[in-house]
Structures are given as structure tokens and as C-alpha cells.
């Protein structure tokens, strides 16, 4: 039997790794990779709480399905933005995309 704590600690670690990716990476696509890892760790938490605390309901899994849909929408729009920026500016390094500062 696996206690709930293992899942919680695992997903906290995966979330921290994703957070590091979002904060430390230069490339915008790599930042999206970090966001995907964070969303996945949240999903594991939702499903683990469903299985351990409320297996009679279905809320945890339904939430996870909605998170899937939002992640797909987010990555589609994000990558379209990145490709559009690359076409206009020739770079996708997050620190060089600073038009809003002017």
C-alpha cells in the first residue's frame, strides 16, 4: 500500500522542477515545458486526493479532465504567439521580447 504522502511529496517535487524551468529558462518554448510539468503535478494531486479521500465521488477526475482541456488550449495559443513573435523579431528569448517597455 502506498500512503497518500508519497504522491503529495512527489507532485510537490515535480511542481518545484516545473517552477524552476519557468523562472530560469531563456527560451519561451522551454518556459512552456516548465508550465506543462507544473500542470501535470497538479493533476496528480487532484487524482490522488480523489482516490484516497473521496473515491465515491468523481470530482477529482472531472477536475483533471478540465485541466487537460485548459492545458491544450494554453499550449496552442502559447506556441502560436511564440511562432508569431519569432517571425517578426527573429528571437524567442524571453528577455529580448520587451516591446512593452517602450
Amino acid at each position: 500500500m502506498i500512503p497518500l504522502s508519497w504522491y503529495l511529496v512527489f507532485s510537490a517535487a515535480l511542481f518545484a522542477i516545473g517552477l524552476f524551468g519557468v523562472l530560469a529558462r531563456k527560451n519561451a518554448v522551454a518556459i512552456l515545458i516548465g508550465i506543462e510539468l507544473m500542470l501535470n503535478s497538479v493533476n496528480i494531486n487532484l487524482v490522488a486526493f480523489w482516490r484516497y479521500i473521496a473515491p465515491d465521488g468523481i470530482s477529482g477526475q472531472a477536475f483533471a479532465v478540465i485541466v487537460f482541456a485548459v492545458a491544450a488550449a494554453e499550449v496552442a495559443v502559447g506556441l502560436a504567439l511564440i511562432i508569431s513573435i519569432y517571425r517578426r523579431r527573429g528571437t524567442i528569448a524571453a528577455e529580448e521580447i520587451d516591446m512593452l517597455k517602450f
Binding site: P3, S5, I17, R25, N27, I33, F68, A69, A71, L79
Partner: protein
């Protein structure tokens, strides 16, 4: 230590290692491939948690669509992907510090919670989570509104992505 626990530890080590490589390797195509491995590890966790449908959806949606889309985006921005310098920005030490603090804080808060080491309750033999999930997503008393909002969101994202990435020349 039971077999399940050994499997858990192996998959957790695989997933965390792949995730760590995905956010640190310099070559972005390799990073996307490591991301795929980490997503597979998460799918195995869904199987361990009796959520078979989510495991399949994870493979289809995340690995089949999102990761492949990322590889496409990396290849379309090839000059940046083959960039030889560091891929980490100047503040990466602070970022690592923040990530460690967040992990330690989460672990500390969770470990002070009384249900931290709950064991899984038995799933009753008649329970059918997949059927339950299917009817909950279309039931007016459950999640039909979030479900429809999610489909409108997906449609909006689809149209928005096409319009944003459109080359108007």
C-alpha cells in the same frame, strides 16, 4: 516494502529525473523528448491511482498532441534551438532557490496535515469510475457547465491560434 512501492519509487525517480533534464538540458529537442518521458511517468501514476481513462488521455493529449506541437514549434524556431550558449538566464540560482523553498514549504505544510499518510480505501467492486466520470461530465447536476465552457475555450483557442500564427503577407 511491497511490489507496488518499489514500482512507485522507480517511476517517481524516472519522472523526476526526466523532468529535471527537461528543464536543464541545452538542446531544446532533447528537452522536449525528456518532457515526453516525464509525461509517460505521470501516466503510469494515473494507472497506479485507478484512473485508467486519465492515463489514456494523458498519452493521447499530452504526448500525442502537446509534446509533438512543442517539437514542431522548436523546429520552426530552429536558429534559436541550435543556439550554443547557456539556456539559463542570469537569475537561475535564485530560481533554483525559490523552487527549493517552494518544495520545502509544500512538504512542510502537507506533513503537518493530519491526513498526510492516509492509506487508500478499498474500491468497491461495483464502482465504475469511468462510467461515473462519463455521466458526471454531461449531467446537469454535476459538471456539464464546466465541460461546455471547456469546449468553448478549446474552440476559441483553436481559432485564436490560427489567427495569431497567420502570416499576413
Amino acid at each position: 516494502m511491497s511490489g507496488l512501492q518499489i514500482i512507485f519509487i522507480l517511476v517517481a525517480a524516472l519522472t523526476l529525473g526526466a523532468g529535471l533534464l527537461a528543464v536543464t538540458v541545452r538542446n531544446l529537442v532533447h528537452a522536449a523528448l525528456w518532457l515526453i518521458l516525464a509525461l509517460f511517468g505521470v501516466a503510469i501514476f494515473f494507472v497506479l491511482l485507478n484512473a485508467g481513462f486519465l492515463a489514456v488521455a494523458q498519452v493521447v493529449v499530452y504526448i500525442g498532441a502537446i509534446a509533438i506541437l512543442m517539437i514542431f514549434a522548436i523546429m520552426l524556431t530552429q536558429q534559436v534551438a541550435s543556439y550554443k550558449g547557456t539556456q539559463l538566464n542570469a537569475n537561475w540560482i535564485w530560481s533554483a532557490f525559490i523552487a527549493v523553498v517552494v518544495f520545502a514549504g509544500l512538504a512542510w505544510i502537507l506533513s503537518s496535515w493530519s491526513g498526510f499518510s492516509t492509506l487508500p480505501p478499498e474500491m468497491s467492486a461495483r464502482a465504475d469510475p469511468l462510467r461515473q466520470l462519463g455521466s458526471a461530465l454531461v449531467s446537469p447536476t454535476a459538471y456539464v457547465i464546466p465541460f461546455e465552457v471547456a469546449s468553448v475555450l478549446l474552440l476559441a483557442a483553436l481559432i485564436g491560434a490560427i489567427i495569431i500564427a497567420w502570416d499576413r503577407k
